[in-house]
Amino acid sequence: MSTELTATLLELNHVHLSHGSVREASQVPKPFTLCLSAGERLAILGPSGAGKTTLLRLMALDSNPAKGEVQFKGRAGPSWSLVELSQQRAVMPQNCQVAFGLEVKLVIALGRVARRRDPFVSEIVLHAARLARAEHLLARRCDTLSGGEYARVHLARVFAQLWDVREGLILVDEPFAALDLGLQEHILQALDAFATERQHAVVAVLHDVNHALRAFDRLVLIKESQLFADVASNQQAVPVIEALYGLALECLQATDNAFVVSPVSRRCPPA
């Protein structure tokens, strides 16, 4: 079991996060190396425009790095075909409108569109929808959904895509951007349960530091297209996060193990 857990799933070797625009030689971001093990939970944090989404796209094998190479499951990125890749990694988009108002059931089933023979697709769609709490939406048209319902439908589609796979990779781009607190919890829990059961690794771009600290094993901090830090997600990470955002944070102890951080307000210092 432990060997499986430490097996490298994704490996970024000396990659650059370039935005495509040509910079001066001194400003070329330093290359960095990043490894992701199967079943690991990794959160990407950083200020806006730091290159979080660029990093996520590299990890999703959407694009090839300008320099360096990406290896997924021991194979180089370009050697994966779209169909093979779709059966090992899934991406949950930040906000993805579905044209024509397709039925939710159909959209979830689209997660499995690349499989040639797929006899259990209707059961899988049903289970995936149940896990994502989108079961009541199955017969609805996508153009009648609210933002939160959309997020659940796309989550169910991601579940359906990796339903019968083990040790896959799920990438999520700011999943909680427009969701209320209750829904954030639901989605986080559903994602966690799904990934734990199948030992999928989860990589998420996040804004909320508390989500990252609570639900993820490891934090990758990105600043100005460079790796700022790669730390375990615990109380020791807080000073690094402070340095990343240039912000003073205070730790509030919630229960014995759990804590939340909050920016220190200058006007009204804590009593």
């Binding site: 779209l82 899934a90 991406v91 988009p93 993805c96 024509f100 689209l110 569109v113 690349a114 048209r141």
Partner: protein
Amino acid sequence: MSIVRAVLRAQPSWWLGVSLLMMLALAVQVGAVPVHTSDWLAMPKLFEWSAVGDSIQTLSAGSHVLFNLRLPRLLLSVLVGASLGLSGALTQSLFRNPLAEPGLLGVSAGAACAAALTIVMLGDLAAAIHPQARAWLLPLAAFIGALVVCFSLENMARRIAPGSIAALLLTGIAMNALAGAVIGLCTYLADDDQLRSLSFWTLGSLAGARWLWVGLFAGVLATGYCRLTRSMQTLNALALGEAAARHIGVDVHGLRKQIIVWVALLAGLAVAFCGMISFVGLIAPHLVRLWVGPDQRQVLPLATLLGGLLLLVADTLARTVAVPAEIPVGIFTALVGGPFFFLLVRQARGQTA
């Protein structure tokens, strides 16, 4: 009412197929020349005649009209309508937009423009070309015109503003204007004979139908339909957008290219043989989507059937309402289709956006 609706929902393809056959049976009977049962009995003679290569006199006037004019025309109208319906549905799924149509995007105009250029520029040269080759020159030119417009449309719309509907439609408008200008220039330069063939292209008519065209069209449509229906679920995936479609394993670039070639082939051939026939490609998929919902696996076959039915009805009306004269069917579809489309948009305001 609800029973009617339930029956309609049960088997749309069955309903459409039966109405198409009924309409064919009706359309064969009506026209400037009445057709009698005895005319049908001349069918065996037809094969004899073609085998021997004898003159046309062995056929009665009625059977001549039936076998050499009316039947090919009816079948061609069904096939052209079906191609327009299919290419309309494909364009809409490619551009993720229910307003896209080969006509609106300038594909038909591009084909007509290439045909007009061929008619006028090659006017003198045409005499030097073998007559058999000349018959294929125009369809080929129209197809190339459609292909050029399709590829430039796709490239430009993506380069200006990726995913933007406005950029796409504006590019389409520009294409239409450009093609219109070139057609206008050709009209200005053309002599009387060329002018007559030019007005045929811009107005759209099925009057010149021939069995050879019917065969060719049936072949192309059948091939395209078989190729495309294999990937109908991946067409649904396009509705998620390019990035998400790639993530679930759909080769978006390959699919795009395939769709563009087939749209150009279908719409281009339709224009090549029958001139510009508007609105069928827009209305057929629209009606189908209102009827059975937006699942491409249903929209594609049904839009094909409905397109055939619509153009058959339009052409039958076009050649019968003003007997013995006939209205060019392109004018007719635009006259009827325009206001009808307004109604559709008003009714489905909430759903189609």
